[in-house]
Structures are given as C-alpha cells and as structure tokens.
Symmetry: C3
Subunit: 209 residues, 3 copies
C-alpha cells in the first residue's frame, strides 16, 4: 500500500514537472527558469500544504524529488518542438497530476487526524496550487480561478474518497476509484468545454469587454 502511494507520488511529480516545464518554455525562459517552474508546479501545492500544517516540507528530506523533476525537465526540453502537437498530452498530464496529488493530499490530512472536510481541502490544495503558484510566477491570473471545472473536480473526487472509506472499501480501491473519478470528470469537462454555471448576465460580461 505504501508502495502504491510512492509509485503514484513519483508519477504525479513527473507529470506535473513536464506540465510546468512546457508552460515555462512557451514563455521562452532559460534552462534554469524552466527547471524552477517545473519545480514550483510539481511540488508547490504539497509545499504549501506542509507549510500550513507545520510539517517538514516533504521534498527537503528526500532527494528523489529533485531527480524526478530534473528528468521531467530534460524530457520536456527534448520534446519541446512538438509542443503545439503536445498540448492535448500536456492537458492529460495535468489531469493525471491533479488526480494523484489530490489523493496524496487527502491521505496526509487524514494521517494527521484532521477532519474529512479539511482533508478534502488539503487534497484540492495539493492538486491544484502548484499550478496557481506557477501562473502567478509567470505573471498570469491563475487559470483555475477563471474557467473550467478543475479544483472543483478535485473536491468532488475528495468527496468520493470519503464516501468510499465510509462504506468500508479498502484503501487501494478507494484511491483508484477517486483517481479514476477525477480523471473522468476532467476528460468530460475538457471534451464538452463545461464550466461552472456563470452568474454574470450577458450585459455584465459585455460591459467589461
């Protein structure tokens, strides 16, 4: 079980570092900048979670993460030419990372005996705040504040996770169900371009534009 968590953790860091590096390269950052943005994107959410919880930040005690992020950065640099072609893949990587990190964040919260609702919030933070910090660093309004059901998918996945535990499913099953649920929600959202219901009238939107 521990092993499964480690595997999905490594995978999550890897895919998020690729997502971050591709974003950074689309802004023409230098190699160091690309690495830092890959780093921020992949461990930023978990770092914020650990800082808020007063835990030792997870990547300071384990070299593995630096190596994985370096590997993700190098892979991204090699593949950068196909970047427009890869936008769909990038979105998929992002979805995988979101799903995996949500589950990791929830489990950290539960391990520290926090309430289910706080654990769900920590899951959403771990899953989506790396991207928020990345967007702020690249001088953009965070994408997830503006459109598409993103953190909302993570929160829904967290509810599924708690439900699964409640009805007595085993942990690895619950993990896989929650991860699959978040991925499916995101795929549907992207395919049908769903958004949270807007409460702005047409008038209001046009007035701004």
């Amino acid at each position: 079980m521990e092993k499964i968590v480690t595997i999905i953790d490594v995978w999550g860091v890897f895919v998020f570092s690729i997502s971050g590096a591709l974003n950074a390269m689309s802004k023409k950052l230098d190699p160091f900048g690309v690495f830092i943005i890959a780093f921020i994107t992949s461990v930023g959410g978990g770092t914020l979670r650990d800082v808020l919880m007063g835990r030792t930040v997870f990547w300071m005690e384990d070299h593995m993460y630096i190596y994985i992020i370096s590997a993700g950065t190098i892979v991204s640099i090699i593949l950068r030419k196909k970047i427009t072609y890869l936008m769909k893949t990038l979105s998929l990587f992002d979805t995988l990372g979101l799903a995996i990190f949500t589950v990791i964040g929830i489990e950290v919260g539960l391990k520290y005996d926090l309430s289910p609702s706080v654990a769900i919030a920590l899951g959403a933070m771990t899953g989506s705040f790396g991207g928020v910090i990345r967007d702020i660093s690249l001088n953009e309004i965070p994408l997830i504040f503006q459109k598409e059901i993103y953190a909302t998918a993570s929160i829904a996945g967290g509810l599924i996770y708690m439900l699964g535990l409640e009805i007595g499913l085993e942990k690895p099953i619950v993990e896989l169900v929650a991860i699959a649920f978040i991925i499916v929600v995101r795929l549907i959202v992207v395919k049908y371009e769903l958004q949270l219901p807007s409460f702005y009238d047409k008038e209001e939107v046009e007035k701004e534009v």
Copy 2:
C-alpha cells in the same frame, strides 16, 4: 473578553470575504475563483502571520471560518449587480476589516511574548496582507504599495493600542479605541484623498508618464 475578540474576528473575516469576492467578480472569475479570492483576502494576512510565527494556521482547526467565508461569498454574489453603487460600501468593509484584523494580529503577537514593535508589525500584516496576496493573485501591483495611507493607518493604530495599554486602560477599551482610531484615519484619508508625502519631483513623475 474572549467573546469580544471572537465577535470582531467573525465580523472581520465576513467583511474581508465580501471585499475579496467583489474584487474577484469585477475580474469575472468563476464561482470557485470568487470563493478562493474571498478566502485569500479574508484569511491570507493571518495565515502569513501564523506561518511566520510557526503557529498552527488558525483556520485549519476551526470550521467556522469556511462557513463565514462561504456566507460572505454568497452575499456578494447576490449583491453583485449593485457593485458600482457598492464601491463606497466595499471601501467601508475594507476599512472595518483592516481595523479589526490589526487588533487581532497585535494580540496574537503579545500573547506569544513578542516585543511591541514586532506585535505592531504582525498587526499590520494581519490587517493588510490579505489584500496584498489578493492583488498579486489577480495580477496587479498591490494597491497599498502605491497610494493612500492604508498599512500606515494600521501601524498608527498599533501605536495607539500600545499607548493605551501603557497608560493602564482596560483591554476591551484599548481594542475599541484602536479600532475606532484606524477607522477614523481611513475615513479622513479617503475623504480628503490624502497620501504619504511624495518624494518624487514633478519632473520625475512626468518623465515616467
């Protein structure tokens, strides 16, 4: 006494979440984004204070805050149509939040036996950094770095607070005096459009424009 602190705390979070939500809606964020910006604005300053002090972040141990912020967000969404009309009210809410959070921040500092000057700095941070983090998240240069006497009013209120304690006033009195002082300073500043004395010459300013 504890009760008074709780009441002003609830009120501060409520008014700041409205201030944040109105700001987010003026940028046409989606409902999730509006909630997050309300959250950042209302608890961001206190979160930074707690992280820097190495305390457990205050809203992680108390569900109340999430409910208050949700309420503030919903109220804001309902009232959004009157947003231009409400700009003055928004400014008033902001002033109330600033005054209340300054006092809370100071008292947290004193409770941990920090020196008066550090406590005043923590008060100013608690009162004004939620707005700073909000502005950075919305991709703007923080308003309070540019004009109007805002954090400066908070610092002046902190000095009044310490003076009040020094001359032996009771704590609830000192709290009310400091809060009233900050509110009055801000109202005067806004009414007469006061600013900190500028040290830029006309030439310098024009050169830029």
Copy 3:
C-alpha cells in the same frame, strides 16, 4: 567567525534593501511601498528558507534587521535622483547580496545537518528568492527565470564552498573564496552578457515575437 557571519549578514541585508528600494522607486511606489519592497527583497529569500525548514523566521527575533532595512531605504530615497547613473552600482549591490546570502543560506542548512545538495539549494534560495518575490510583487516575471546566469552563479559558488570544506580549508577562508567566486562569475556574466545556452531555435524565438 560568528562575527564575520554577522558582518556579512548586515552588509547583505543593507545592499539588498537598497536594491529593492531603487526598484520600487522606479515604479513610483509611495514611501511605505518602497520600505516593504526593500524588506521583501532583503529578507524574502531567508524568510522562505526558514519557513520551509520550519525554523523561527530569523528577523522576528532580532530588531537589527528592521533598522538596517530602514537605513537602506532612507539612503536609497536620498540617492534616488542619481538612479540612472546608479544602475551599475545597483547591479553591483545585487551581486554582493547574492554572494553573501548564498553563503549564509548554505551555513544555515549545514547547521541543521541537511545534506550538501539541499544546503546548496537553500543557499541559492536565500540569495536569489528575495528578488523573485520582489518581481512577483511588482507584477513582473522574475528576471532570474529569463536571462543571465544568476542563481546558477549562486549554485556554482555553493559547489565551490563544499569543495573547499572537503579539502579541509578553514571556514572563514571557504566563505571568502565562495563569495569572491560568485562575485567574479557575476561580473564576467554582466560584462560579456553571457547567458545559459539557449535550446530554442531562432525560428522558435521569432515565431513568438
């Protein structure tokens, strides 16, 4: 030895606060904003380091820093007229700060028994993240992510430091060698306008422009 560290620490905070204040004034911030940006620039990197390590943030327990930053801000305001003339000096102050803070960050890491590679990372963070937080606050993409060998010089200096310890040099010697190395690398980089090798083709760059 302690004394040397204190001296270079004071000097680093002073020069970085000047660097921050000059930056803030080029954006026409008000006096309070200038002070805050000077504060963020000079202690931001070390604050992030301490927060990630779970240490008490260094400037909360020592009044000295506030005084030094105030002094740096006042000096900057007095000298602001010569700001264009001073751009080269500003760059030199920045270089000094980078070198000094790198060494301080490394030594904090080693003191807490972290591995050499994590200590080097903490050194680079202490040296360069004040500027990153400053740029994000002023609504710019952090300069060091884009061009010039900056954090990379800090990391190279960290390797020199570890090498020096390894071959048995005394600590004050190692400190001076690492500081001198970083300064020389930066001076060469600025003089010859060196950059990290770009992996973007001409085409790619032009496409963007």
